[in-house]
Amino acid sequence: MTLVPVTYKGGIYQHDIIIDLIEDLGGYIIQKHIIAAEVVLQCFVPREDIDLIREVSRPLFGEVTDSPLVGTEIAIVSMSLEIHHLPHPSCDIAEYVRRLGAKSNMVSLARGPGKRIAGLNDEERDVINEHDIAVYLLGNFETCIEYKMPTLRRGIEVPIVLCGGPAIDVLRKIIDPPVDGYVGNVGRFMRRTKEADQLDKMDEIIAEITRVLEKKRDSIAKDPLSVSPARLMGVIHEKVPEILDVTSPTPLTVQMAGLRVKLPYDTFAERLRKIEVEDGVPLGEIAEVLPSRMRDYILVRVLPSSETNMVV
């Protein structure tokens, strides 16, 4: 059974039917938003059952769309939080990515701007490495990008998608060693992205992110995870009721190979490790429970089956 990420949009009336159906089919609901009278569900569902969900939701005027970014956490790396980059383009891109189901965090560098003075500190590096992918939003000049990129990528282990002002072939030429994805002609601009050509550019960014994530998904599939992060989310939700009191929009953030649990590490880490995922298999055996560099959250990294010799 392969689970595919989809978004369900429909009215609030009888939406629990859909939730029950997805859960009965063996799918997982990652996020649920209720906006006025509309419900948006971001979920993983079995590929072969999408048509069934469509059929059941038809009388409720619900629609099911593919959203390849559900279940990923993306770092939008902005060079600073100054007016030069905010709200356009950093927020525009972060918001667009979120619309397609990803959980995007904006990581702004303390000393990102400039050419010679640009730098990346250890906290920023670790925070970026906690994500599935990093989208670097750089400026308009190839000289600057070429000069500062080696500094900004030092120690980054996650795939990087680079957005910059110069054309895509110029970016490819100046970045050495190459990064995983490039989007050209998206540098610094001071206007809202609302025209058709600007939205096309946004779609191009999404396409590039999706392509890079697919590659990462394929490499994970070669050595499958011991447990699906979405399933782990359900287990934690059930066994740690304190998570229900967290006011953050996504108390449990699902990543491709892990989970961010927004509870304090010192208090809950040991309890998390002891949670039984299945009979006699504690969470600590199939995943690492690590302190996150983001506030005092917990980062759960699911181990591949080659290390644990089990898939639950």
């Binding site: 007016i83 701007p113 400039g114 000049f141 190839e142 000289t143 600057c144 110069p166 054309a167 601009f189």
Partner: protein
């Protein structure tokens, strides 16, 4: 861009120049400053790196008077002012308080001000100067150019006179001969530096 007689962005990277032309236009438009600049030459060299903006300012002679945004209706023993735009309401009240005293000025709601027994003719009231937009002009221009200049260019030198301005920024110490470059940029516009 009709208001500007001369507008050039010069940069060794043609694509970069195009982007910065757009950014300059957007920022000046957002800050409502296009009408005060008549000529503008921006030079950016990311290799140095340096950002130079030179330009000529238009003369702004208009000052804002009470009559521009309020109707003065004289009545017996009092004068009612009907405000059409709130922007200059606060400075206007301040002037009234200073001139007539707080007890003679009343503001029953947002758009009405009543003056009781003031020793002035309605005509005089209408002529009172409330604000001078040119006072904050240089401040606004400097802020706009800080937005336009690439980020991280924190070492700056600015000269803003009544008619001309120079804004130079870099992340490195500015070269001593920067005046020569500035002069060249003014020459391109057919002007001399202030």
């Amino acid at each position: 861009m009709l208001a500007i007689e001369y507008f050039e962005v010069e940069c060794p990277e043609p694509l970069g120049a195009e982007y910065y032309r757009q950014i300059t236009n957007d920022v000046l438009l957002d800050h409502n400053l296009l009408k005060v600049v008549s000529k503008l030459h921006v030079f950016i060299d990311p290799k140095v790196p340096v950002f130079i903006a030179t330009g000529i300012l238009r003369k702004i002679t208009t000052v804002v008077r009470v009559g521009d945004f309020a109707n003065v209706n004289p009545q017996e023993g009092k004068m009612t002012l009907v405000i059409s735009e709130e922007t200059y309401l606060a400075p206007m009240l301040k002037i009234f308080w200073q001139r007539f005293g707080k007890e003679k000025v009343e503001q029953p709601d947002r758009f009405t001000v009543i003056l009781y027994d003031v020793p002035a003719q309605p005509r005089e009231i209408e002529e009172i100067v409330v604000a001078d937009p040119s006072e904050s002009l240089h401040k606004d221009l400097i802020y706009a150019f800080r937005c336009i200049a690439p980020e991280g260019f924190r070492l700056r030198t600015e000269i803003f006179s009544k008619e001309k301005f120079i804004f130079v920024a870099s992340e490195n110490t500015l070269a001593e001969d920067i005046g020569g470059v500035v002069r060249e940029k003014f020459a391109l516009m057919g002007e001399v530096p202030p």
